[in-house]
């Protein structure tokens, strides 16, 4: 048996003991493309789709617990109220076919610079819970992803859940691509406002080896917003866009040039902030 289909987390760890070289398989939308094109030939596979502990989500008072196998379709349809930025991102992940199969845990595990959910989860200060036979450890998303498709997930570990704080404030998701649907992003941005904490968080994707937070822009705008009126001077909004642009370190590739990406970051960051402020 080279393809294990466990139904419990304990079964996953048993399978990983038995098949130490196994690739983890969630929705398949990333792994199977690599396999189809001959870029990967997994010696064995542990399929996670049936694992009870990895399915669905819980909406708690102050956070949402997304289990790793929650699909983008579930996020898109069920979590619009509690995680509006992530739900908006979900609606742009691939096509309905991809969203029915693809998972939030898979998005993180693949750790693509263009992963649509990652800038939003980054902006929301999501914590990733990794589980292994020995127990669990928790890491901020920013520490989990170390480079292009690189993570600190160790052999024998799986992503169990993603804990996302619930924030009081507007959330935006903006994505630049060649069409609205079914596109790998050229630039992607998630913005979350935390009214209680008086902070603005800006996550950026497709503009660096891993998802970024534009911290200089965030700190600047937090001090420029009139938090009672939820307004900011036009100059400050413009400056926010410039600082966001400076945070990006994009490359030129087949989807877009570095200079276009830098420009687009300024546009989407400014737009996301403007949409979040009172008119």
């Amino acid at each position: 048996m080279l393809v294990a289909r466990p139904t419990t987390l304990a079964g996953v760890f048993d399978a990983l003991d038995e098949l130490p070289d196994a690739h983890l398989l969630a929705g398949g939308t990333d792994l199977m493309v690599e396999v189809n094109f001959g870029h990967r030939q997994p010696p064995s596979v542990v399929a996670l789709r049936r694992v009870e502990e990895l399915r669905g989500y819980d909406v708690l008072a102050d956070e949402v617990v997304l289990r790793a196998g929650v699909t983008w379709t579930e996020v898109e349809h069920d979590l619009v109220e509690v995680l509006p930025g992530l739900a908006a991102a979900a609606r742009t992940v691939g096509s309905p076919q991809m969203r029915n199969a693809g998972t939030v845990g898979g998005n993180i595990g693949t750790a693509s610079p263009a992963g649509d959910g990652l800038p939003v989860l980054g902006a929301l200060d999501a914590t990733v819970v990794l589980a292994s036979r020995d127990g669990e450890r928790r890491l901020p998303l920013a520490e989990l992803i170390t480079g292009v498709k690189q993570t600190v997930i160790a052999p024998g570990e799986v992503i169990r859940e993603i804990r996302v704080p619930r924030l009081d404030g507007p959330q935006q998701f903006l994505k630049v691509g060649t069409r609205n649907a079914m596109v790998i992003s050229i630039v992607v941005c998630g913005l979350a406002v935390d009214r209680a904490g008086r902070s603005v968080r800006l996550g950026l994707g497709s503009v660096a080896p891993r998802p970024l937070r534009a911290t200089a822009a965030e700190e600047f705008i937090a001090g420029a917003i009139d938090w009672d009126a939820m307004t900011a001077p036009p100059d400050a909004v413009r400056r926010f866009g410039e600082l966001a642009r400076e945070a990006a370190t994009p490359i030129s590739d087949q989807r877009g040039t570095a200079s276009f990406r830098r420009h687009a970051v300024g546009v989407v960051a400014t737009r996301a902030l403007t949409r979040s402020l009172a008119a």
């Binding site: 393809v3 990967r40 399929a47 691939g94 096509s95 079914m182």
Partner: protein
């Protein structure tokens, strides 16, 4: 089709049972990297699901996996064991057209036809889940089903025809 084991390293095989259109089908000694699309077409004699992009971009391989619309090129066949797989061939009894297929014929919604099986599965999925879906919902539902011939106009016409026919049948 590239979904084949490399001769040098293609030793990783497995055997499993798929439930396809209500029937159990044995898959024996198959390379574990084979997609559901490959197994349906090349091992089980079900060529209705089409192979174009092999990367989840075109939708021509759309099937229902436990009732959810997925691209079968992005499903590892061995991971579909124990799940209910429904292909375009299983939407109606052999030789009969579904209402959606009939509407495509009547509205002239088929040109080269390559994308149509996936389109039919996607449209069934939408109308079965959301009988009142409007055209905007349809556009989003088939946003992952690429048609390069028709310009979609007659596909939308077929959609409206089915919707009206089903609405009449309900009253």
């Amino acid at each position: 089709m590239s979904t084949q084991p490399d001769p040098g390293t293609g030793q990783a095989t497995d055997s499993y049972t798929l439930s396809v259109n209500g029937a159990d089908r044995e898959v024996t000694d198959a390379w574990i990297g084979e997609s559901l699309l490959y197994v349906l077409r090349e091992r089980l004699g079900l060529p209705g699901s089409k192979n174009a992009c092999e990367q989840g971009e075109c939708g021509s391989c759309s099937v229902l996996l436990d009732g959810a619309l997925v691209a079968s090129c992005c499903v590892m066949a061995a991971d579909a064991a124990g799940s209910d797989v429904r292909t375009v061939e299983g939407l109606s009894p052999a030789g009969e057209l579904t209402d959606v297929q009939r509407a495509f014929v009547e509205q002239g919604a088929v040109q080269c036809g390559f994308c149509i099986p996936g389109m039919i599965v996607a449209m069934h999925d939408l109308l079965d889940r959301r009988p009142d879906a409007d055209e905007l919902a349809l556009r989003e539902a088939i946003s992952g089903n690429l048609c390069r011939c028709t310009g979609y106009g007659r596909i939308f016409a077929a959609f409206h025809a089915v919707k009206e026919e089903r609405a009449r049948a309900r009253t």
